[in-house]
Each structure stands twice: as C-alpha cells, then as structure tokens.
C-alpha cells in the first residue's frame, strides 16, 4: 500500500503487525516547548515567512528494518504448498537449474502462452494475472525454451517475477517512518510538513536498512487547522510557485518495485555473449527478457503510486532505478518512485506573458 497522506488517526496508527504509533514522551515535551526548530534553508525560510507559513518543528520518523533478499519472508526459504509462481524461485536455489516447469516449484497450473518459440528467439509469453499470485509476488511474464531440449543444465523455463516481499518490506519501512514523522507533526500542532527528505540506507551492515523521513512542520498563520496534515518535498520558492499555479500539496508519496529475472536458456546465453556451456548457442540481438524487466520495474512502481493518487497528480516525480547482474543470466531491477501528490484547488493562470531576455554571458 502506498501512503496516501494526511495525519494518521489514532486508530489507523496501529498497523497490522501491532505497531502502536506513539510519539516518545521526551519528544512530545520538546515539541511543545516554546523554541522551534526548522530544517529550512534561510532562502526557503524567508520565502515561507512571506507567505505566512511559519515553522514549528523539525519532525522526524525512523524505522529500522531487517533486510535480506533471501531471508525470512522470501520464498527462497520456503516451498509453498501451492507452488505456482514459486517454481522459478525454487529452481533458482541451485538444485534445479532449468528444471521442467511444474516439477521444481510444486506445479504450475497454468499453461505458458507464447514463449520463446522453437527454432526462433523473439516471442515472449505474457502470463501473470490469475496464477502464481501470492503475498510473495507474482509472475509478470514467462519464457520457454525454443530448443525442445530437456536437461538439468539447460534452463528451459524462465520468468520475470515481481518480488513483492521486497517491495512490501520497503513500503512498510517507508510508511512507518513517514507515519511517525506525521505523528510528531500532529503533536506540534502543524498544518503541514514541508521540505521533506527521505533516505533509505544501510545501517551497520547490509542486513539492516534504515528508513529516515524528516521535514519541517509548519502552520499557516491565521488559518484553521486542516482536516488532514499535508506534506511535500517542496519548500520556499518552489512551494510558492506550486500554490501560485493553483495546486496544493496533499502528501509525499513514494513506492518501490523489484523485478527478478529468472533467465531462460536463451537469456542466459545472450547475457554471456551468445554461447552456453551445454553447447547451445543463440543469435545475438535483443535480450527480450531483460528489456521486459527494465520496463516492468518502472511500470510497476508507477502503477503502485498511481493507485494511490485518485484524481490527483504526482508532481516532481523522481524515478531511481538500480539493476544488478545476479549471475548465470539472472538479473534484478529495483525501482523507487517518489514525488508530491498535488491537487488542483483553484483555477489559475499562473504565468504572466513570457518576456525573452538574452543573457550575454
């Protein structure tokens, strides 16, 4: 679930895993003291002051998560009773390289439409949808061997798989840190939180990930408290221009998607330069399965975010993508999309007629 913004109500602050959102007593005391703090630059502070936006507190939220691609919560440790999409994952554990679909992971119930057609490389199967869906993830596309060959060293099945246990963990870390920041903002009596910054980094070592969200809680002087506290990555002049353009920030939005490539034989061969140890060769050309994964990760994360927008707009989207070659043709693409959900609150013709100037430098 993508966080959709607003101040969590006391009931909603209790997440399904039992976390009770509480501002620590020391923090509550500090937030209610007379001195305020702010993370704004002097420029942004001055611009906000001109608009009647006054900082009340630098608010923060943290969430430290255990982090493993292959550990608890991932399908790599479990053989699911219903098989389905776990077949590729199971075969990827080492014992069933290129095993027959349906035998390695407990049985694929659905036929694989399309696939790498025998004698050619170019088709692709699109499955996903009804089968293989689980809390761990789902198959997005599947690929079959064109060689009509079965062997333990030959991958005659491959798939691109959404690693939902990864993206769900990321979302949980972000949403929890965000909600804790918003609780502090509520305790400070804020109307909104501006200049939000979020970082996701390793803490101590690669098995621990720290989600840190912070921003400056503000009030609009003379205005009533809004129904929900708004938040935005913007501040100062940029925030002024957004409002001038007729938009109002609703909430910071961020989401993540992770796609794993379980390479079919042709993908494995092409990733190694077109030759395979088993003697099978493949023509050079597009590595369709990897191209698909690159597109799928970006589309998935965009869809995750869009599902929370309603009729609003994601402004200033920043799409960060990383990918890594896992070995033997396997591949992983991770995408994070963040931005400010804004909504049009008034009709405005925001820009005076352009005046062209030529700067002689």
């Amino acid at each position: 679930m993508v966080h959709t913004g607003g101040t969590p109500e006391p009931e909603s602050a209790v997440s399904p895993d039992g976390y009770q959102g509480d501002v620590p007593p020391e923090a509550a005391g500090r937030l209610s003291s007379s001195a305020w703090s702010s993370g704004l630059s002097v420029n942004d502070f001055a611009a906000c002051a001109q608009m009647g936006i006054r900082p009340v507190a630098l608010v923060q939220g943290f969430c430290v998560m255990g982090w493993s691609w292959y550990g608890m919560g991932s399908p790599y440790l479990y053989r699911p009773a219903y098989g389905g999409a776990m077949g590729g994952a199971w075969s990827g554990m080492g014992g069933f390289r290129g095993g027959i679909p349906g035998t390695a992971g407990g049985g694929f119930g659905a036929p694989f439409a399309g696939g790498y057609q025998s004698g050619g490389y170019g088709g692709q199967g699109v499955s996903g949808g009804s089968y293989g869906r689980s809390r761990w993830g789902s198959t997005i596309t599947s690929y079959s061997c064109p060689h009509s060959y079965v062997g333990m060293d030959h991958r005659n099945f491959g798939e691109n798989f959404e690693q939902r246990w990864v993206s769900d963990a990321w979302q949980h870390g972000f949403d929890t840190a965000f909600a804790r920041m918003m609780e502090e903002a509520a305790a400070a009596g804020a109307h909104g939180v501006i200049a939000v910054v979020d970082t996701v980094s390793h803490l101590i070592d690669a098995s621990i990930r720290e989600f840190h969200v912070y921003g400056t809680a503000v009030v609009v002087e003379g205005a009533p408290r809004p129904p929900a506290i708004w938040s935005t990555y913007l501040a100062g002049q940029r925030l002024a221009k957004l409002i001038e353009a007729g938009f109002m920030p609703a909430s910071v939005v961020a989401s993540m998607a992770s796609v794993r490539v379980w390479a079919v034989c042709v993908t494995q061969a092409l990733m190694a330069g077109g030759y395979q140890t088993g003697g099978w060769s493949a023509p050079s050309g597009e590595i369709t399965q990897v191209s698909d994964a690159q597109m799928q990760a970006r589309r998935l994360v965009r869809d995750h975010v869009k599902s929370s927008l309603g009729g609003d707009t994601l402004h200033g989207a920043v799409l960060g993508v990383s990918w890594s070659d896992v070995g033997e043709g396997d591949y992983q693409v991770d995408a994070v999309l963040r931005g400010t959900r804004v909504r049009r609150v008034r009709d405005a013709d925001p820009l005076p007629a352009p005046k062209l100037t030529l700067r002689l430098s």
Partner: protein, 283 residues
C-alpha cells in the same frame, strides 16, 4: 524567460490565497478522475502551461541487447557487432518510449534522460521522460516526438517556429590500429602523438556523427539541436575507442516566430574567464 510578477504583490496574494484555501479545507477543484505522474519541475510545468501544453504521464522505454562473445579481441577497424548492439538497444528503447507515450495519449515526450551502459556482452539503454500533450484533447499523432530537451527548451523551440521530431543518435566502437614493434618502442620513450589512437578516435567520431545525422534525415528533420557527445576508451577492451553522439531532431514548423524582440541583459557578476564547454558534454 522571466516573469514580470512583482515579488511583494505575489507574496501578499499568496498569503491571502493560502488563507482562502485553508478556510475551504483545501477542497479539490480537479475534474479528473485519473491520476497522472510527471517528473517535470514546477518551472517546466508552468512554462509548458503558458503555451497550452500539459504533462500527461511519466513514461519510459528500455531495451537490452547482447554483444556476441569474441568480438572484443584486437582486430582491425570498427567493432561492428558492438556498434550494432548499441544502435539496436537505443532504437528499441526509443520505440518502446514512443509506444508508451502513444498509449497514454501523449503527443510527445520532453526531458528524455538517456541512460546507456555498455558491458562486455550487454548494452542496456533506458529512456525516461514526461509525455506531454496540448490542452483541448487534440488527437495524438501516430508517431509521438521524443526530445531530450527540457520543457523550457521545448517551449522556446515552439515559440521560435520549430518542432522537435525525435531523437537522433549514433555510436561507433573502433579498434586502434596495432603499432609495429619499432614504433611502439620509439613511442614508449617519448611524449609524442599516438597516431593510432588519434586515427581510431577520428574514425569512431565520423561514423557516429554520420549515423546521427543520417537518422535526422530519416526523421525528415532539418537539423539536430542540443547535441551531446561522449568519447573515451572501453574499460574491458583497452584497444577500443568509443564515440557516441545524440540530440533532438528539429524541423521548421512553418509557424511564425512568436518570440518577439529580445531584451539584452548584461550581467556584471560573471566570474567565468573561459568558454564553458560543459554544455556539449554528455556522460
């Protein structure tokens, strides 16, 4: 492009605006039921809005191409398979970007960021940008334009009577000619020109530029603006030099130039002492 808005008046209006909006509970005026995404800055969105264009959706195109084994051995001339893989990956990524733009009803994509990585057996090309469309619900063209120029540059081009047509790119990987033993020994003890590397660089440059300009012609463009170039060695094949060039193809629209007279501004705070070539540099 500057705004003539008065600072104090704007701040005062904004204070009133915020109070009015807050009194209404920041009620939405949006008629759209469909959310959209955009990676444009507020400046770019505003300047596009000033000519009646709006962002539609964040779109992407990606393609991975294989480079066959064995082609990086030191032979002569161009590493044809690598150049072909680069062209193939870029072409497929651009086509995927156009297809996605068309699917969301965009007329074109602005601010396209290219991310191309070349490894021993893989070329990975990714293009990401914001699909844009003019207001009024005009029917999108069958082939949307692509441009790596910003929303601001797109606006300037339009007002100046030019239309972006698409992205043109070219790349070439060339083996440096081998030196004779005597030449290699002579050069190793002197600071002299390594003509074989210069030759390879020129050969790669010429092929890449030719491919980019041919592509511009195929797109029926009049020229390429904002050309970026990137050249260097290949870290896993030190005898190969690479050159890549890309830019936005434009053509005259036939519309009159709407930019009007230009005010010349001479800033007196320019500390630069030399021509800044950074604008030409790709990555």
């Amino acid at each position: 492009m500057t705004s003539a808005a008065d600072g104090d008046a704007t701040a005062g209006n904004l204070r009133d605006t915020l109070l009015t909006l807050a009194a209404n509970g920041y009620a939405s005026r949006s008629k759209s039921q469909k959310g959209s995404t955009s990676d444009l800055s507020i400046d770019e969105a505003l300047v596009l809005h000033s000519i009646g264009w709006e962002p539609v959706e964040l779109v992407c195109g990606a393609a991975a191409f294989s480079i066959p084994a064995g082609i990086w051995t030191w032979t002569q001339g161009e590493v044809v398979a690598a150049s072909a893989a680069y062209a193939g990956a870029m072409g497929r990524a651009a086509a995927a970007l156009q297809a996605e733009c068309r699917a969301v009803g965009g007329h074109g994509v602005v601010g396209v960021r290219l991310d191309v990585t070349v490894e021993r057996h893989l070329v990975n090309a990714v293009m990401v940008g914001s699909a844009v469309a003019p207001g009024g619900g005009a029917r999108p063209p069958a082939l949307p334009f692509l441009s790596d120029l910003s929303g601001r540059d797109f606006t300037l081009l339009r007002l100046g009577g030019w239309d972006p047509v698409g992205l043109a790119f070219g790349a070439s990987f060339v083996n440096a000619p081998r030196r004779s033993v005597s030449v290699a020994m002579r050069q190793s003890s002197q600071n002299v020109e390594l003509t074989n590397y210069t030759e390879a660089l020129y050969a790669a440059r010429e092929s890449a530029m030719e491919r980019m300009q041919s592509m511009a012609s195929q797109l029926a463009g009049h020229g390429v603006v904002g050309v970026r170039v990137s050249e260097g060695s290949v870290h896993f094949a030190r005898h190969v030099l690479r050159f890549a060039a890309w830019g936005t193809v434009v053509k005259a629209s036939g519309r009159p130039d709407e930019l009007g007279p230009v005010s010349v501004v001479v800033p007196l705070d320019d500390a630069a002492l030399a021509f800044d070539v950074a604008s030409l540099r790709g990555r």
